[in-house]
C-alpha cells in the first residue's frame, strides 16, 4: 500500500489514494474502538443496497490504524455545488433524495440516536438546568429506527464519473429519527453560514419527506448541544442560543 497521494486531510485523519483503494489513516492517539466502530458501521450499512464504498480491510500503517475502502473516482457534491451554482436547486434536490433513501433503510445492529444524544448532552458542558431540559426533550421524542448518516452534508457525497452518488464517512451513523438527521444537516449548513441554502434544504426535506417542519425543529436544541461537544469556540455563542429554549408548560 502506497501512502503517497493525499486526497483529503481532516482533523486527526488523512485520506490517501492508492489505485482503486482509499486509505483513511487515523492519528496515533485516535481511539481504537472508534476506528473499529467506524469500520463495523460501514460494513453494516454495506449490507443495504446503498451505493457506498466497500470496506476492504482494517489495518495498521506505521503503527497507525487505517481503514481501507474502495476508491470512488468523481467529485463531491459540495464541489459540484460550488462549481455550478446555477444548478444549486437540482443538486439540493438530489442531496435530499439521497438522505431520504438512506433513511428508508433499516440496520438493526446500529447504535441508537437516543443513546448517542443523551451522551452528547451530558458531555456538552451546558448547565444542569439546560441539560435537564434537553434530556427531557430528547426522552419525549418518538422512537424511530431509520438509518441516520449523522454527518450528512454535500462533502460526504461523491458523484462518480458514471453519475452514481456514493455516500462516504459512516463514522457517525446511528438508527433513529429522520428529523434528528435532518436537523443535524440543517445545523451544518447554518454553521457554514449558508443560511439561505439551509432554509431551502429544510423546506425541500419537509416537502419531499412529507414531514412537518416542527418535527425537525424540535431536534435543533439537541443537535446544537451535541455540536457543543466539539468545543469550537467560534460556534459557541450560536449554539448556546439554540439550546436555551424551554418546553411549554
Amino acid at each position: 500500500m502506497k501512502l503517497q497521494k493525499v486526497i483529503a486531510v481532516r482533523t486527526s485523519k488523512t485520506v490517501y489514494r492508492d489505485g482503486d483503494l482509499a486509505i483513511k489513516v487515523f492519528d496515533e492517539d485516535y481511539s481504537k474502538a472508534d476506528v473499529l466502530n467506524e469500520a463495523l458501521n460501514q460494513a453494516r450499512v454495506e449490507e443495504t443496497d446503498l451505493p457506498i464504498p466497500k470496506v476492504i480491510e482494517v489495518t495498521k500503517v506505521d503503527g497507525k490504524w487505517a481503514i481501507v475502502t474502495e476508491f470512488i473516482q468523481g467529485k463531491t457534491l459540495a464541489r459540484l455545488m460550488s462549481e455550478n451554482p446555477d444548478n444549486m436547486d437540482e443538486y439540493l434536490q438530489r442531496f435530499v433524495d439521497i438522505q431520504l433513501e438512506i433513511q428508508s433503510k433499516r440496520v438493526s445492529m446500529l447504535n441508537t440516536i437516543f443513546e448517542k444524544m443523551h451522551r452528547k448532552i451530558s458531555q456538552s458542558g451546558l448547565d444542569a438546568t439546560t441539560r435537564y431540559e434537553l434530556h427531557t426533550r430528547l426522552e419525549s421524542m418518538p422512537k424511530h429506527k431509520k438509518v441516520c448518516h449523522g454527518d450528512f452534508n454535500p462533502s460526504n457525497i461523491i458523484v462518480s464519473n458514471d453519475d452514481v452518488a456514493y455516500i462516504i464517512d459512516w463514522a457517525h451513523v446511528t438508527q433513529g429519527n429522520a428529523g434528528a438527521d435532518a436537523a443535524r444537516t440543517y445545523l451544518l449548513f447554518r454553521l457554514e453560514g449558508e443560511d439561505e441554502v439551509a432554509e431551502k434544504y429544510l423546506k425541500l426535506f419537509c416537502d419531499r419527506g412529507d414531514t412537518a417542519k416542527q418535527s425537525i425543529q424540535k431536534w435543533l436544541p439537541i443537535v446544537a448541544a451535541s455540536q457543543l461537544v466539539k468545543e469550537k469556540p467560534e460556534q459557541r455563542e450560536f449554539l448556546l442560543r439554540w439550546t436555551a429554549v424551554v418546553d411549554y408548560e
Binding site: H118, A128, T129, T130, Y132, E133, H135, T136, R137, E139, S140, K213, Q214, Q217, K218, L220, P221, R241, W242, A244, V245, V246, D247, Y248, E249
Partner: protein, 869 residues
C-alpha cells in the same frame, strides 16, 4: 432555639432508593390514619404553608429569576387557603358513602406513593398544592423538582412536611430529590404508584410512558375572542390583569386576543391607555426573533417583564410597559406570536366576524393548546348563540366567559363551582387522562362493595277482570254508565261474526246508545296487513273503546291495531327487539290508552291474552313473526264469560287447554315466579287436570267444565303475564312456525322434554337471576306433583309422576306422542333443525327459563320430541 431539621441529601440513585423505601414504609403507616387524624394534619400543613407564603415567593423569584414576588404570594396563598377550603370537609378516608338498602358502599383508599413533577413557573405553589392533596388522601409523595427551581420547591415541601409531622403524620411522608436528573426522575416515576406531572410536554410524556398511572397536564395556548358585544373596559382590563399576573407564567394565561373588526380600534385604544405597548414596524420582527428560537420558546424571556423582553430584542419601550402586543395576521406556527409565550407578550388578531374569530381561535388551540383553556368576551344575555358556537368549537377542557383566564382557569376565583387547582387536566385532546381541574378525587382508589340483592318483582293485571258465565252484557254496562264511551270498535273473526257471537255485545251497545262498528277479517296467525287494515278502519271510525272478541288471534290482532291506531309512527322492528329484562329494555314502548279503552273477551280457553301484555303478529311478506311484549299492551278490561266458549270444537279445546297447562307449568318453573303467580299457576293446573278431559269430551253439554277451563286459562295467563315462560315456549314458537303445528300442540309435544331438562340438578348453565340461587327446579316440579296429589316419595319420583300425568292427560284429549306422528317429514325436519334450534335459543321466552340452554341441548330436546322416544 429550635434546631433546624437536617435531611439526608438525595443526589444519587442509591440514596433515592433508600428514600423511597422509607417513604413507602411511612405511607403504609399513614394508611391506618382516620379521617379525623388526616384532617388535623391537613389543617396544620395548610396553615404552615399559608404562613410561609411570602418567604417562599421571594425564594422562588430569587432562584428562578422569573415572575413577580407579590403575585407568587397570591399563588402560595391560593394553594394553601383555597385548597384547604375546598377539601376541608371532603371525605377521603374509609367509607365515603353507604346505602344499606341497596347493599352498596364506596370506600376510599390511598394510591400509595405519588411522584410529583413540579414546574419552574409555579414551583412553590404547585409543591404546596400537591403535597396538601397527598396529605389529605393519605398518600406519600416524592417530589422531583426542576433543577432551576429545586431549592424553593424543596423549601415549600419541607414546610408542609414538618407541619404535617408535628400534627401527627408519619416521619418522611413527603420526600424529594435534591439533585434532579433525568435518570432520577425516570426512576421516581417507575417506582411510584402514580404520577402527578405538571410541566412541559416532555415531562408529561415521560410520565405517561413510565408505565405507571399518570395524571399529566399539558400545554396551553389560550386565545381570547372579543366579540363586538363585549364590555370593552371589563374585557381589556381583565386580559391585562391576567396576562401580567406573575409575568404571564400561568399556563391558562391569554396568548392571543382576537378582536372583532367593529371593536378592534376600541380594544386597541384601551390597551394603549393602560400602558400596553403595541410593537411598531421593525420592532415586531425583533421581538419575534427573540421570543421563539427555531420554533421553541426562548428560555430567557419566560416570566420576564415586558421592558426586559423588549430590551433583549433591542426594542426601547417605557419602563412601565405592561404587555408587548404584536398585531399579527397568521395563526400558523410559522408566526412566532401564535405560540405560547409564558411572558407578557400577546398576539392580537383582527377578525372579520365571529365565525372568523372562531376559526382563528380553533387554529391557535390546535397549534399548541389542545385541551387546555379558551376564553371569550361577549354579552351573555343577548349572544347565547355565539356562546353556544364557541362552546361547541373549542377543543379545550375549560371554556371561560368574561373571565381573566389565568385566574379563571385555576378555579374558585371568578367562578365558584370550578374546582380550585394548580394542575389543569387537558383531556384526551391534550394527551391527558384527566380533563378536569385535578383534585383529591384523582388521588384515591375507590373500592365499591356490592352485596347481593334480589330483584324487585311485580304483579300486574288489567284494572278490571270480570268473571262469570253470562257476565258479558253485565260487564259492558260500564261502558255507558261509568266510562261514558261513545264509539266502540269490535275486532273479531269471520266465524264468530257469522255465528252471531258479536250479537251479545252489539245488543248491549244498542241498548246503551253507543255507536259501533265491527271488523271481522282476523285470520289465524294474524298478519301485519290485516292489522293495518283494521287500524285504518279505526282511524276512519275514531273509536274511544276497542273490544277484541275471539281466541288469541283476534285478541292479539286487536292489540296491534290498538297500537297502530294510537301510534302510527311506532316501528315493529323496534317494538319486537329482544330484551333481557323488560324493565331495562332499550326501546320505550309508546303510551297506550290515550285514544281508546281496550277490552278483551276470550272465546277459547288457553291463550290468556285477555290478561297478558303480549301479542304476536306475522309479517305476511317475509313470514317473520313479531312477538311484542310490554305492559302497555295489557288490556284495560278482561271479560271471562264461558258462554262465549260453549261450542268450541274438540281440536281447539284440547290445543288451547294444553297451552294453558304449559303456561302454568312454565311460569311456575320460571326464575321470576312469585308467591302470587305460584298460587294462580297451581290452581290453574289442578283445574286443567280435572276439567280439560271433561270439556273435551262433553263440549257444550258440560258448562261447568267450560267455565272451569275459562278460569284456569285466565289464571294461567295472569301467572305468565308476570312470571313469564321458558324454553318450552321458545321451542314451540319455532316448531309452530317451521312446521305449521298449532301452538298448543307444539307446546304439548315439548313440555315433558323441558320438565326433564329443567329438573337437572347439575345443569350445564343455570339461569342468571339473583333470586335463583341454585338449581332447584326439580323441587318446584315436586311441589306441583304434591299439589296435584300425584304421590311419590322422592322429588325424582314426583317428577316422574307429573310427567306421567301430563302424558295421560295428553292421551285423553287426543294429542299424539311425537312430532313425527303429526306427519312432519323427517328429512325436512332434520334439514332445518339447526336453524330452528338457533331461533328457539334466541326466542324471548328463553330468558326466564331456570336452566340456560346450550344450542346442543335444544337440539337434543327437539330430536327426542320428534321421535317420541
Amino acid at each position: 432555639m429550635e434546631k433546624e431539621k437536617v435531611y439526608e441529601i438525595v443526589d444519587s440513585v442509591e440514596k433515592l432508593e433508600a428514600r423511597l423505601a422509607n417513604l413507602k414504609a411511612a405511607q403504609r403507616q399513614y394508611v391506618t390514619y382516620t379521617q379525623e387524624q388526616v384532617d388535623k394534619i391537613f389543617l396544620a400543613a395548610s396553615t404552615a404553608a399559608n404562613q410561609a407564603r411570602i418567604p417562599l415567593a421571594k425564594l422562588a423569584v430569587q432562584e428562578t429569576g422569573m415572575g413577580i414576588v407579590e403575585d407568587k404570594v397570591i399563588k402560595n396563598h391560593y394553594a394553601s387557603e383555597y385548597i384547604y377550603n375546598a377539601y376541608k370537609n371532603t371525605k377521603t378516608c374509609g367509607v365515603l358513602e353507604e346505602d344499606k338498602v341497596y347493599g352498596y358502599k364506596r370506600i376510599a383508599e390511598p394510591v400509595g406513593v405519588i411522584a410529583a413533577v413540579i414546574p419552574t413557573t409555579n414551583p412553590t405553589s404547585t409543591a404546596i398544592f400537591k403535597t396538601l392533596l397527598a396529605l389529605k388522601t393519605r398518600n406519600g409523595m416524592i417530589i422531583s423538582p426542576h433543577p432551576r427551581a429545586k431549592n424553593c420547591t424543596i423549601a415549600a415541601a419541607k414546610i408542609v412536611l414538618e407541619a404535617a409531622v408535628a400534627a401527627g403524620a408519619p416521619e418522611g411522608i413527603i420526600g424529594w430529590v435534591d439533585e434532579p436528573t433525568l435518570e432520577i426522575s425516570n426512576l421516581i416515576m417507575r417506582e411510584a404508584d402514580m404520577i402527578l406531572a405538571t410541566g412541559g410536554p416532555g415531562m408529561v410524556k415521560a410520565a405517561y410512558s413510565s408505565g405507571k398511572p399518570a395524571v399529566g397536564v399539558g400545554a396551553g395556548n389560550t386565545p381570547a375572542i372579543i366579540d363586538d358585544t363585549a364590555d370593552i373596559l371589563l374585557t381589556v382590563n381583565s386580559i391585562i390583569h391576567s396576562k401580567t399576573f406573575d409575568n404571564g407564567m400561568i399556563c391558562a394565561s391569554e396568548q392571543s386576543v382576537i378582536a372583532l373588526d367593529k371593536v378592534y380600534d376600541a380594544v386597541k385604544a384601551e390597551f394603549a391607555k393602560r400602558n400596553c405597548y403595541f410593537l411598531k414596524g421593525s420592532e415586531l420582527d425583533k421581538v419575534r426573533k427573540t421570543i421563539i428560537i427555531n420554533g421553541a420558546l426562548n428560555a430567557k424571556i419566560v416570566g420576564q417583564s415586558a421592558h426586559h423582553i423588549a430590551a433583549l430584542a433591542g426594542v426601547k419601550v417605557p419602563e412601565d410597559a405592561k404587555i408587548l402586543i404584536g398585531e399579527v395576521e397568521s395563526v400558523e406556527l410559522s408566526e412566532e406570536f401564535a405560540h405560547e409565550k409564558l411572558s407578557p407578550v400577546l398576539a392580537m388578531y383582527r377578525a372579520m366576524d365571529f365565525s372568523d374569530a372562531l376559526d382563528k381561535a380553533s387554529h391557535l388551540i390546535a397549534d399548541g393548546g389542545f385541551g387546555h383553556t379558551s376564553s371569550v368576551y361577549l354579552n351573555t344575555i343577548t349572544e347565547g348563540e355565539k356562546l353556544a358556537a364557541f362552546e361547541a368549537r373549542m377543543k379545550t377542557c375549560r371554556v371561560l366567559v368574561n373571565t381573566p383566564s389565568s385566574h379563571g382557569g385555576i378555579g374558585d376565583l371568578y367562578n365558584f363551582k370550578l374546582v380550585p387547582s394548580l394542575t389543569l387536566g387537558c383531556g384526551s385532546w391534550g394527551g391527558n387522562s384527566v380533563s378536569e381541574n385535578v383534585g383529591v378525587k384523582h388521588l384515591v382508589n375507590i373500592k365499591t362493595v356490592a352485596q347481593r340483592r334480589e330483584n324487585m318483582l311485580w304483579f300486574r293485571t288489567p284494572q278490571k277482570v270480570y268473571i262469570k258465565r253470562g257476565c258479558l252484557p253485565v260487564a259492558l254496562d260500564e261502558l255507558g254508565n261509568v266510562l261514558n264511551k261513545k264509539k266502540v270498535f269490535i275486532v273479531t273473526d269471520s266465524f264468530l261474526y257469522n255465528n252471531g257471537y258479536t250479537k251479545t255485545i252489539t245488543d248491549k251497545l244498542n241498548e246503551l246508545g253507543i255507536q259501533y262498528t265491527t271488523f271481522y277479517d282476523v285470520a289465524p296467525d294474524p298478519s301485519l296487513a290485516c292489522a293495518k287494515e283494521g287500524a285504518e278502519a279505526m282511524r276512519a271510525f275514531q273509536p274511544d273503546c276497542i273490544i277484541a272478541l275471539g281466541g288469541g288471534s283476534a285478541m292479539d290482532a286487536g292489540k296491534i291495531m290498538w297500537v297502530m291506531y294510537e301510534h302510527p309512527e311506532a316501528d315493529f322492528m323496534d317494538m319486537a327487539m329482544r330484551f333481557m329484562d323488560i324493565r331495562k329494555r332499550v326501546y320505550t314502548f309508546p303510551k297506550m290508552g290515550e285514544k281508546a279503552y281496550f277490552i278483551a273477551v276470550p272465546t277459547s280457553a288457553g291463550t290468556g291474552s285477555e290478561v297478558t301484555p303480549f301479542a304476536v303478529i306475522t309479517d305476511e311478506k317475509t313470514g317473520v313473526k313479531y312477538p311484542l311484549a310490554d305492559y302497555e299492551l295489557m288490556p284495560n278490561m278482561a271479560i271471562v264469560d264461558a258462554d262465549m266458549m260453549m261450542v268450541m270444537p274438540k281440536g281447539l279445546t284440547s290445543a288451547s287447554g294444553i297451552d294453558a297447562l304449559t303456561h302454568a307449568l312454565e311460569s311456575y318453573a320460571s326464575m321470576l315466579a312469585t308467591d302470587y303467580t305460584d298460587g294462580l299457576g297451581l290452581k290453574a293446573m289442578q283445574t286443567i287436570f280435572e276439567y280439560l278431559p271433561r270439556a273435551y269430551e262433553n263440549g257444550a253439554n258440560d258448562p261447568d267444565a267450560r267455565e272451569k277451563m275459562a278460569n284456569a286459562s285466565t289464571m294461567a295467563g295472569m301467572a305468565f303475564a308476570n312470571a313469564f315462560l321458558g324454553v318450552c315456549h321458545s321451542m314451540a314458537h319455532k316448531l309452530g312456525a317451521f312446521h305449521h303445528l298449532p301452538h298448543g300442540i307444539a307446546n304439548a309435544l315439548m313440555i315433558n322434554e323441558v320438565l326433564k331438562f329443567n329438573a337437572s340438578e347439575k345443569p350445564t348453565r343455570m339461569g342468571t337471576f339473583p333470586q335463583y340461587d341454585h338449581p332447584h327446579t326439580l323441587a318446584r316440579y315436586a311441589e306441583i306433583a304434591d299439589f296435584l296429589k300425584l304421590g311419590g316419595k322422592t322429588d325424582e319420583e314426583k317428577l316422574d309422576r307429573l310427567i306421567q300425568a301430563i302424558e295421560e292427560l295428553k292421551a285423553k284429549i287426543g294429542i299424539k306422542k311425537s312430532i313425527q306422528e303429526y306427519g312432519i317429514d323427517e328429512k325436512d325436519f332434520l334439514d332445518r333443525l339447526d336453524d330452528m334450534v338457533e331461533q328457539a335459543f334466541d326466542d324471548q321466552c328463553t330468558g326466564a327459563n331456570p336452566r340456560y340452554p346450550m344450542l346442543s341441548e335444544i337440539k337434543a330436546m327437539y330430536l327426542s320430541a320428534y321421535y317420541g322416544k
